[in-house]
Symmetry: C2
Subunit: 309 residues, 2 copies
Amino acid sequence: MQYVFGVDLGGTTVKLGLFTTEGELVDKWEIPTRKDFDGKYILPDIADSVLAKMDEKQITKADVAGLGIGAPGPVNEEGTIFGAANLGWGTLNINEALSSLTGLNVKAGNDANVAALGEMWKGGGQGYKNLVAVTLGTGVGGGIIVEGNLLAGATGAGGEIGHIHVEDNETEVCGCGNRGCLEQYTSATGIVRLAKRMLASTDEPSVLRSTEISAKTVFDAVKDGDVLANKIAEQFGEYLGKGLASVACVVNPEIFVIGGGVSKAGTVLFDYIEDNYKEYVFRGCREAKFALATLGNDAGIYGAAKLAL
Amino acid sequence: MQYVFGVDLGGTTVKLGLFTTEGELVDKWEIPTRKDFDGKYILPDIADSVLAKMDEKQITKADVAGLGIGAPGPVNEEGTIFGAANLGWGTLNINEALSSLTGLNVKAGNDANVAALGEMWKGGGQGYKNLVAVTLGTGVGGGIIVEGNLLAGATGAGGEIGHIHVEDNETEVCGCGNRGCLEQYTSATGIVRLAKRMLASTDEPSVLRSTEISAKTVFDAVKDGDVLANKIAEQFGEYLGKGLASVACVVNPEIFVIGGGVSKAGTVLFDYIEDNYKEYVFRGCREAKFALATLGNDAGIYGAAKLAL
């Protein structure tokens, strides 16, 4: 039996998984992310935890095909992370550093990209090898898989689809410093912005006037037939459909896998995305499928394991 | 000495090149593209020409590493072309068909994508492995190279960047059936449209009022300091910069290589593209370089040869 480790390095906790090389999850656990002293203990802590697990399970280095790790920052094809502010890290080659600490073959990637690989391997994108994962959370992240391989990009910024420009008339600034980014309309916070603007622009009644506005309450209202919520969802869908159409004109995927907190609304999202996607996209890309992500918070460890194989 | 053939299949002529595997062009020639009988003679003609050249040069099959071919239609990773209207072809696996006719290893790709590979190998993108080639011709084509490999896409529509949506307020229809495609503003014909609209919208003097409008005359006027031509170039640059910024948010290239007829204007184009690109793109992609394509009409045979290696 061959094993592989998948590590999802976050700002608060590190999630770790031990898998068979076929993708069966044998064990998973967490350790805290120690950010003191510019994060210098983070990789040693991970190495100690992995080696302890091998000891516990009586697994030798010869039994381990590799260790993959997703990190919260831009990581290039060679495993170099170009800074991770919330870990205290500057530029660092994770492959080399963690390999020398563990004696294992290490392969690092950006966390959002790695999660995409997880969804391809064992999640909503199973059976596909040209896939775009879209994470609609606090921001909008993306991960691009081409012929089964992660697209890291020259500086680790491959798949940063949340910052595709989709609106020329935006006055507010995105977190990235630009104006009119996809993320400003289709993240959880973006949907709240759309909702507040819509509510302010009209006197139409809506259940949203008497509840806290969130992506969840907006889509709950949509499901309850609220007319104004439906208009907000249409705006959301037009921006996302238009943005994903641009993505498709570049990488022509078989499938988009939609995850993140907003995706908890379920397949109702597709009612708003797909028609707009088809309207804006090049006809050769019109048949791309849409699916929901299924691995939730485990996508990172699954994808990291797959990355190492 | 090992050889490789590169074939650029066009609607009127087939260009063929014999290269060493190091990329030295040994010989190049052309044959007509026989489109009668649904193009059934096209591949046999190519096979005959290649086998005759091997005979002439006393090259055996063992001396030939492979044969690459770029075709004018969507070609997927496996060499299947999904129809080529101007050849009379339906869906066809070129790899298999041409391999059985020649006894050589054959690898087919879309012609624009293959030209990108040529520019990476021996043209304006030498030394880079994450590259986007942009062809500003009658239309706008693209080719995406990721880690040295061509991105074909699920249905061969990878790199169709001319159909990225960049303008919400367009009333005219693009050749693809959509409205507001990048191609409508930045192809040779797109620049003419921009120029005619600009001239109609104002009484400002311009040398363009007394000459035939083309991409060439517009950029010649720009170089001569014509104020109105400069405004047209600014519009062109804003659309192209914005579109390429979207491309970069997906694939994060090291370099954009600009070719096609419009690129004959030279590096003056970059004065209009780069500032807009930097304004719209995600900051992690801001350092991408811009270069001119250098292989001209030979990009196809170079890229096809490289594809086969």
